[in-house]
């Protein structure tokens, strides 16, 4: 127990870094994921295939390998970025295809009758989207997006291997110095992650309820 109290300020800062990573990567991958989704459902063939290729490559690869390429590879190519930026880049590149698939799954789960009805009363493409499809898809998209986000929170732990001192990195240090306190250290850090994850789950549940359709 004492270990946790003594190192409380370091641990809080470490979790602060984790939260910062989560926020930045969420925003970036939501944007990029939406772009990818648009590429995949749009009418332009080249973009369809490019998007599908991207998703296939980046979903079938472990995040670790991607981080290796970005954090160790970019400097070799002469690209100088801070470690924070490089890790964010790798995490975003990895999470975006999952966001894209979550969005597509959500949009595709809306009964096709809705879109057909919208078209049949004469709404244009953008009108159908904004008035009929998208509002319903917000609700459908929340569960898969929440699980992608939760997976991403856990994935941030990998930055500990690539330079950043997040909660997992600090845990390694503490385990090295105080091996007898293993359970306390594990429990304390696990608690931090559980709190973050459950907060996201709760948020998702609240959103689902707010947007409940009849």
């Amino acid at each position: 127990m004492q270990v946790l109290i003594d190192n409380a300020d370091i641990l809080f800062r470490a979790f602060g870094l984790t939260l910062l990573l989560v926020v930045v990567v969420s925003i970036l991958s939501l944007v990029f994921g939406t772009v990818l989704a648009a590429m995949r459902v749009g009418p332009i063939g080249v973009l369809n295939k490019a998007g599908a290729l991207y998703v296939t490559i980046f979903r079938n690869n472990p995040l670790l390998v991607l981080l290796l390429l970005v954090v160790f590879g970019l400097p070799k190519l002469g690209v100088q970025m801070s470690y924070f930026n490089m890790n964010v880049l790798a995490l975003t590149l990895y999470t975006s295809p999952f966001v894209c698939e979550a969005l597509r799954a959500g949009v595709n789960s809306i009964p096709i009758g809705q879109a057909e009805a919208a078209r049949s009363i004469g709404l244009t493409f953008s009108q159908s989207m904004t008035a009929v499809v998208l509002p319903q898809s917000f609700r459908a998209v929340v569960p898969p997006l929440a699980s992608v986000l939760i997976a991403m929170v856990k994935n941030t732990s990998l930055v500990s291997i690539f330079g950043l001192l997040d909660a997992t990195a600090r845990m390694k240090g503490l385990l090295n110095d105080h091996p007898s306190q293993l359970w306390w250290i594990f429990g304390g850090i696990a608690l931090g992650y559980v709190i973050i994850v459950e907060a996201i789950s709760l948020g998702a549940a609240l959103l689902e309820r707010r947007w409940r359709v009849a």
Partner: protein, 294 residues
Amino acid sequence: MFIRRLRWAAIAATAVLAVSACGSAGESDDNPVDNKVDDSAASKFEDGTAMKAIAEAGKVKIGVKYDQPGLGFKTAGQDQPTGFDVEMAKLVAAKLGIKADDIQWVETISDNREPFLQKGTVDFVFASYSITDDRRKVVGQAGPYFLTGQQLLVKKGSDIKSVDDIKGKEVCSVTGSTSLAQVEAKGAKVRGFETYSQCRDQVLDGAIDSMTTDGSILLGYAAQNPDELEVVGDPFSEERIGMGYAKDKPELCQFLTDTIQEAMDNGDWAKAFEATLGKSGAETPEPPKMDACA
């Protein structure tokens, strides 16, 4: 569609296998210091001592590092490790009548040196093993056979010259290590990675300003790249590198101390240094004065 993909995969695989006969990366030379193996060693020891037991068995298990060039280093594709610690180990084995090729090398990492000695997984440890009172409570440590301390490795021409220059700069080491904690306390921005060689790569690529750990390890890296890397700054901690042995075999202490003392006196110690860490361009230091066995 898939069959087409499968066919390409098969062609690619065959191509790779066909070309596989070609490359020869990773081969190197193994025994820089010539150890005269004493074949009659077994008879020179008293009955009942651990030395006699090992000499008669004709086999010895020695724990070394595999990831510290110049000290204990084994690359992909090599059979035997190389380095200063390894050379010291070979000297000891030779005194026991065991040839370098017959040594059973075991990879040790920092956390398992004590358990390995206590369980008998290894007979000796020569793995950047600092002598501390805490460790002496659970294992035996003889030596030191090398003195070092935490230092900095930088690209040649860097403006970091000593530990005072690292405030606010990024410094690399292994996640969770004491070296990392030490420089963090001195105000540097620390970046933790999996292995020292990853840190070294980043220094070489210019991605980070410097890396820190024991000077002995850094010298090994500088020895691999003497034109681009250098070790700077006075050591800002002290490490006395010693030999580990099982605490329940105290006779090993005198044996180890005598063997290495002899190497220090007859120049083998210096030769080992020049062949390994000395390649960094660092001067061969004076051999340290070893502790007396309790």
